[in-house]
């Protein structure tokens, strides 16, 4: 490691003011601080600092997303095999297929997002920030596997620039960057974001997998329910078999790449909670809010809104709900920042997600919109909590 350190020290002057590689200072900086903990020592205030930093925080989140990513890979392959009518499911082939299916999206998201981040850091003369490490992996996980790459690129660029950088970068954004990417895709290219084709990878990749016939249907359970008529909400998988609650929990169903497996999401949640990165108050209250609203909806189930027939448990397992609760609602920058505010914020995310999903047949899924809506309202919630603190202080003077 010493040799590497010495090498970095040797080339460092080229990237500093006046060096011939100065336009790439932010890139060098980014890699240097990635490889070696900065030697900066405290100049004011406390003389010792906790070992955790924002790189640590982000890497734990990335780690927590790994079960979902790996499961997503398997599921992408599995759906392809299933749609082709296969009866045998060779594990490694399926994994390899899924990996190849998601890799281009992942690479495009990172290239576009990090490229913009590096450029902006260079332009502002700041250090490169880690926020996009998480965003870049979230984007493929919440999109349908068949999303065209150029759409991913456009949507990522849009949200990194207009949702994050114009507000000042990581820590200043009002809305969740990954979710805005998804919302941009959803509203700009609705045909590629919903329906019964986009959630299943339908071509062979490097000789792996199967070319599916044009007439297969692989709608998500929520998609099927939204278009169901009458009180019949039987949902089936691609092969036409009924999907049980257990399937919904395990996640071998069509859906956005990394969102289908509630089990893997819970493993991720465990990692986030044990390491103390995500706030348990938010996760708990999102599930509480969702369960509450699903129960109300179920009590007044009506054929006009077929999703209202879903049980509480199915509501929480289906679609992006659990993923939103664990990875989206807990984004520290865009949630409510006060302790009381977090309960209110989380509860409303849960309630609104189920309301949209159940009572708006145009949108089969509401978790994304619910989180974005509450992102916008989080400052208002905090404002009320802060005012309560201020009023306590004022009351003390009067007493």
């Amino acid at each position: 490691m010493k040799a590497l350190r010495n090498y970095l020290n040797k080339i460092k002057p080229h990237f500093e003011e006046g060096g011939k590689l100065h336009p790439f200072r932010s890139v060098f900086d980014g890699f240097e601080t990635f490889l070696f903990t900065p030697e900066t020592t405290a100049t004011s205030g406390v003389h010792i600092h906790d070992s955790r930093d924002s790189k640590r925080t982000m890497i734990i989140v990335v780690l927590a997303l790994m079960p979902c990513l790996l499961f997503g890979m398997y599921n992408a392959g599995y759906q392809n095999w299933l749609a082709a009518g296969a009866t045998e499911f060779p594990f490694w082939q399926i994994m390899a297929y899924g990996c190849l299916a998601v890799l281009p999206t992942l690479v495009v998201a990172y290239l576009v997002g990090l490229g913009i981040e590096f450029a902006v850091a260079q332009w502002r003369g700041e250090e490169i920030q880690e926020g996009f490490l998480v965003t870049g992996i979230l984007i493929p996980l919440i999109c349908p596997v068949e999303t065209p790459l150029w759409m991913i690129a456009v949507a990522t660029a849009f949200s990194v620039i207009f949702v994050k950088e114009v507000f000042g970068g990581t820590g200043y954004n009002i809305l969740n960057v990954a979710l805005v990417t998804r919302a941009f895709l959803f509203f700009a290219y609705p045909a590629s974001m919903s329906g019964d084709k986009v959630f299943v990878s339908s071509d062979t990749i490097l000789g792996l997998g199967h070319n599916l016939p044009d007439n297969f249907t692989g709608a998500t359970p929520l998609g099927q329910i939204a278009t169901a008529t009458g009180g019949d909400i039987a949902v089936t998988d691609i092969a036409g078999k009924a999907i049980t609650s257990w399937d919904m929990f395990l996640g071998l169903i069509p859906g956005s790449f990394g969102e289908t497996s509630t089990l893997c999401i819970l493993i991720g949640a465990l990692i986030l909670l044990v390491s103390g990165i995500a706030n348990w108050r938010i996760i708990l209250s999102v599930f509480a809010g969702g369960a509450f609203m699903a129960w109300i909806a179920n009590c007044f189930a009506t054929p006009t809104y077929p999703a209202s027939f879903l049980t509480v448990q199915d509501q929480l397992c289906l679609g992006g709900f659990a993923f939103a609760a664990v990875f989206m609602a807990t984004d520290p920058v865009t949630t409510a920042r006060t302790t009381v505010g977090k309960y209110i914020y989380g509860f409303l995310v849960g309630v609104i997600a189920i309301i949209i999903r159940t009572y708006n047949n145009g949108y089969p899924e509401g978790a994304m919109l619910a989180v974005l809506l509450m992102n916008a309202f989080a400052p208002l919630i905090d404002y009320c909590v802060v005012q309560a603190n201020i009023n306590r202080r004022l009351k003390r003077i009067k007493a």
């Binding site: 930093d53 790189k55 640590r56």
Partner: protein, 448 residues
């Protein structure tokens, strides 16, 4: 019946280099000392002496420009060796060559205060006034304002801080004398905090507060915020029992104590120990022969690791004169991918580090261990601040110089040290104490 206070939020840092023995074996009388006007915030110094003058213990070195009777006095007898000035002739320090035989022979005050006014005058002239502080702002108290209450900290819960039971052994009668005098100066109460289970007895004339819990349990701001918070327009005085004992010494004998008991702490110290030395002694004399010879760059701190001053190897012990800490600087360490480290020697409140689960003593260096970021995580500051304050919002109000919101969010209740632990745990590595200090300074200038 004493008040009971249980602190839940906070953090005790488990660090190597604590003084274990409570024996004082070493006495160090150095050949020179230094006094820093910066240690007396709120005072604008006007010199009473010039270089080469002989000086006696208790004789004024400088006084405040506004309150001319408010003196900072020499703790020893000797000669003014040097007056070191900085930019715009600001006085950095006054160096005094110590008369090593007669350092303790000085002038005495005649102590017979008859009314409150003469008590104030006595404290100001004897140099005892300037070692007290007030809330708001954490500055030397304004003699024209009668405080609502007086709060006296009876212990220090900072990392590696010495046990006041040792520092104040056999001095309870002096604290009692100090408290008795201070009782004249407020219409409210004199509160004295003590760690639950401490040997300190009840002090007559004071309301005792028994506090239990992790740091910042010993910070006087914690006690005030939980017992009787400071509202806008109110003033409380704050001091420690060590200061109270110094005042008591002056009342009983008319003379001031030239020495101070100092805890020498930190992971780079060979034998952490208590030594008795002069107020303002150079660190060289205090640390002589007691540093590890491990070729590491070292950081010399007067005070504790959270609020102390980085004074360097040539520095001096600064107010409040009872702790010196030496740790590795860490700028000579090339740590490969520290953010991914699973090393058990990394200290953290985060459960993502194995060290979090180990009951061991850590020896952290002075690196900030990350890059400075915008405020990203929420709730980190609150988790270590046992006050009804919303620290993130207060910090943001300070950064935007929004006086109205600073007041509403309780800036009068805090001083920088209340944010020290928050600064330690902050993943964004913001300089919170500096921000608060600058905010208080700004507010004081704007509201004067």
């Amino acid at each position: 019946m004493s008040l009971q206070l249980k602190i839940k939020k906070g953090l005790d840092l488990e660090l190597a280099g604590k003084v274990e023995s409570d024996k004082v074996e070493k006495v160090v009388i150095p050949d020179h000392i230094a006094i820093f006007p910066d240690d007396f915030p709120g005072l604008t110094p006007k010199l009473n002496i010039k270089e080469g003058d002989p000086i006696r213990k208790g004789q004024p070195l400088f006084h405040d420009k506004v309150h001319e009777e408010m003196n900072v006095v020499s703790p020893v007898t000797g000669t003014i060796k040097e007056i070191v000035r900085g930019e715009r002739r600001k006085i950095i320090r006054i160096v005094i060559a110590v008369d090593q035989q007669n350092y303790d022979k000085g002038i005495s005050q005649s102590v017979n205060p008859t009314d409150d006014e003469s008590v104030i005058k006595l404290l100001m002239q004897s140099g005892m006034w300037v070692i007290m502080r007030q809330l708001p702002f954490g500055i030397i108290p304004d003699p024209q304002v009668r405080p609502r209450d007086i709060f006296i900290a009876g212990f220090d819960s900072s990392p590696l801080a010495p046990d006041f039971d040792v520092l104040l052994k056999d001095k309870v009668n002096l604290i009692v004398a100090g408290v008795e005098l201070l009782n004249h100066l407020t219409d409210g109460k004199v509160y004295v905090t003590r760690r639950r289970g401490s040997r300190m007895p009840d002090i007559p004339g004071a309301e005792m507060i028994d506090i239990d819990g992790p740091h910042p349990a010993g910070n006087i701001g914690t006690a005030i915020a939980n017992i009787a918070p400071v509202n806008k327009g109110e003033v409380v005085w704050t001091l420690s029992t060590i200061t109270a004992a110094r005042i008591g010494t002056m009342i009983r004998s008319g003379a001031i104590a030239p020495t101070s008991l100092v805890a020498v702490t930190g992971s780079e110290v060979k034998h952490p120990e208590f030594i008795r030395t002069l107020v303002g002694a150079p660190l060289k004399a205090i640390l002589e022969g007691n540093l590890k010879d491990d070729d590491r760059h070292k950081r010399y701190i007067s005070g504790n690791l959270l609020t102390g001053i980085n004074v360097g190897p040539e520095g001096y012990i600064r107010w409040p004169f009872y702790q010196v800490t030496v740790i590795p600087e860490g700028d000579d360490v090339a740590e490969f991918m520290g953010w991914a480290s699973l090393s058990p020697s990394k200290m953290s409140v985060s459960r993502s580090f194995p060290g979090h689960f180990l009951h061991r003593l850590f020896s952290p260096d002075a690196r900030i261990k990350g890059g400075r970021r915008a405020m990203i995580m929420s709730g980190e500051y609150e988790s270590v601040m046992p006050m009804d304050i919303l620290p993130e919002y207060l910090i943001k109000a300070i950064l935007s110089k929004d006086i109205d919101n600073m007041e509403k969010l309780g800036i009068y209740e805090v001083i920088p040290e209340d944010f020290a632990l928050a600064e330690y745990v902050d993943t964004s590595k913001l300089e919170l104490q500096k921000i608060v200090a600058e905010g208080l300074e700004y507010l004081r200038k704007e509201t004067e």
